[in-house]
């Protein structure tokens, strides 16, 4: 019966991989800042679920601890920190003027996902582990799509979440290909990520207080007087 249990766990891991890709698309497609945040939290939950599943399957205490760290850092700490540092009206904001409109953004995100599949396919040929087959391409796609939303978003908070989503993607690929990474390294990364959130949060708060906006696009000039 152990075989079918392993199969089921691998299936569930593949399921969380698919849902992580879906939430990555969701982050690209959402206008509301609050909505992007929610997608990020859900993505982190699936990431933790994947870590738990793989950890359970391989009997690795590292990965179980990792899942717990992910939940603590990304589902609880980062949203809380950002909620405390940022003024509340940032959350209610919508990005109306995207650099690239949402359908085109989604198509670009799709191309990035296809590119990720292509890039890792020679690597996947070397192994038959279904966990790696599920995690590596979608992790890379997560990195690329996070990087894309970092470029294409205008508001500060979605840009930050773009960075965090890149980290999520790297993490997701990492737990499959390097499950025995020392726990201390993972812990450092987790704390690092929370620190990034604090720094960007405080920075955005100060910028918003001085200039009155957090749109990166309107900060292209170094003058203090308003534009003519």
């Amino acid at each position: 019966m152990a075989g079918s249990q392993t199969q089921l766990i691998e299936g569930l891991n593949a399921l969380s991989a698919g849902l992580i890709l879906l939430t990555a698309f969701g982050m690209v497609a959402t206008r509301q800042v609050q909505g992007v945040m929610r997608f990020f939290i859900v993505q982190s939950l699936f990431l933790a679920a994947s870590a738990f599943l793989i950890g359970f399957n391989r009997g690795s205490i590292h990965l179980l601890a990792l899942g717990a760290i992910t939940i603590a850092a990304k589902v609880i700490a980062i949203p809380w920190v950002l909620k405390r540092t940022l003024p509340g009206d940032l959350y209610e904001r919508r990005e109306i003027n995207q650099v690239i409109n949402i359908p085109s953004s989604l198509l670009l995100a799709l191309l990035l996902a296809i590119a990720a599949e292509f890039l890792v396919s020679p690597l996947l040929a070397t192994t038959a582990d279904p966990v790696i087959h599920a995690n590596l391409p979608i992790g890379l796609a997560g990195i690329l799509i996070g990087g894309y939303s970092l470029i294409a978003r205008r508001e500060a908070l979605p840009q930050l979440i773009g960075i965090l989503a890149m980290e999520n993607g790297a993490f997701f690929a990492g737990i499959a290909i390097a499950p025995d990474l020392p726990l201390i390294a993972e812990l450092v990364i987790a704390i690092d990520v929370v620190l990034i959130a604090v720094v960007v949060g405080v920075l955005t708060r100060n910028i918003t207080q001085t200039i009155g906006t957090s749109e990166a696009a309107s900060m292209s000039e170094l003058r203090e007087e308003p534009r003519p």
Binding site: A109, E117, I138
Partner: protein, 319 residues
């Protein structure tokens, strides 16, 4: 052989008989959730009865298309119903008449004639609704295609019965990312094709905001009844494809015994009831999208379906 023909006819009677009930339960549930009493779940039957007993008025300006369309709209869902597993999980007599692609073409044919009939009347709202439906249609078409491609990649077939067997076979196939993404894309497609809420408001009475409904405005009497009944059956058939082929391929009759086939009827009704609850939750918690946001909604469905396809291609080629 005669048995499978009889079961196929039972299947058609199921679709004819329970189409209105499905619509009635859906609207009753929705009103209840919005803390209203709502009409009886048998109200659609009464409406049909009333319409069949009324006189039909046909404008003298219309052509044969206008008179022909209600019959087509009524019959097409039955054609599709004879191709898909509604009650049994083994192919019935007419199952190899066509695959899922044929089902898609049949539904497209009905939609095409409904749009033509709407333009035929010269009523200003008809062509407007028809052009909007076509807009939704051509945005939904690529998603349909990609879903078919993915299904044929995974199951090596587009006959719905064989596809359904594939998902039952192993949990690994059921939980694969391709399958889950496919489910979500197809669900969004059903919402768009059935004229449900994020795309269209089925209970709206404001002609300018109508998408699907305004095509039938000019019909009266028997024509209106057939159009209405056909629409309800189409939604039931789409739901059956979604539930029996993709989402929950369990609980169907697996042998030729008549008792098992009849037992499958309450089981599928329970599945549809659960699906109705989900649908009502979506309908009451979302607002109707603005017309030009529909392209984003279906664009998202397209992206998800293509993601499902690449996931299935790359995962099957590696194994």
């Amino acid at each position: 052989m005669t048995r499978t023909v009889v079961y196929n006819l039972i299947q058609l009677l199921f679709v004819i008989g329970f189409g209105p009930l499905y619509a009635g339960v859906l609207s009753r549930f929705k009103e209840n959730v919005q803390s209203k009493r709502g009409p009886s779940i048998f109200q659609p039957y009464r409406d049909l009865w009333k319409l069949f007993h009324k006189d039909e008025v046909v404008s003298s300006e219309t052509t044969w298309i206008f008179r022909f369309t209600p019959y087509l709209v009524f019959v097409i869902p039955l054609f599709v119903a004879s191709l898909i597993p509604v009650l049994t999980d083994y192919p019935l007599a007419f199952a190899f008449m066509g695959d899922m692609l044929a089902g898609g073409f049949f539904l497209a044919l009905a939609g095409f004639f409904a749009a033509l009939a709407a333009v035929d009347t010269g009523n200003p709202y008809g062509p407007m609704g028809a052009s909007r439906t076509r807009m939704v249609g051509f945005l939904a078409e690529p998603v349909f295609m990609i879903v078919f491609f993915t299904v044929s990649f995974v199951a090596q077939s587009t006959i719905p019965y064989i596809v359904q067997k594939k998902w039952v076979a192993s949990p690994a196939a059921f939980f694969s990312p391709a399958h889950i993404l496919l489910l979500i894309a197809f669900f969004m497609l059903i919402l768009a094709e059935g004229g449900r809420i994020p795309v269209d408001n089925p209970s709206g009475h404001f002609e300018l905001a109508m998408i699907d409904e305004s095509k039938g405005l000019e019909y009266s009497g028997r024509g209106a009844a057939l159009m209405k009944w056909g629409g309800q059956m189409k939604f039931l058939v789409l739901t059956c494809i979604f539930l029996n082929v993709l989402l929950a391929p369990w609980g169907l009759a697996d042998d030729l015994q008549p008792g098992h086939v009849l037992l499958a009827i309450p089981l599928i009704l329970i599945k549809i009831l659960l699906f109705t609850v989900v649908l009502v939750m979506i309908e009451t918690s979302l607002a109707k999208l603005r017309l030009f946001r529909i392209s984003e909604f279906l664009g998202a469905a397209f992206i998800i379906s293509v993601a499902a396809m690449i996931a299935s291609i790359f995962s099957t080629s590696a194994v």
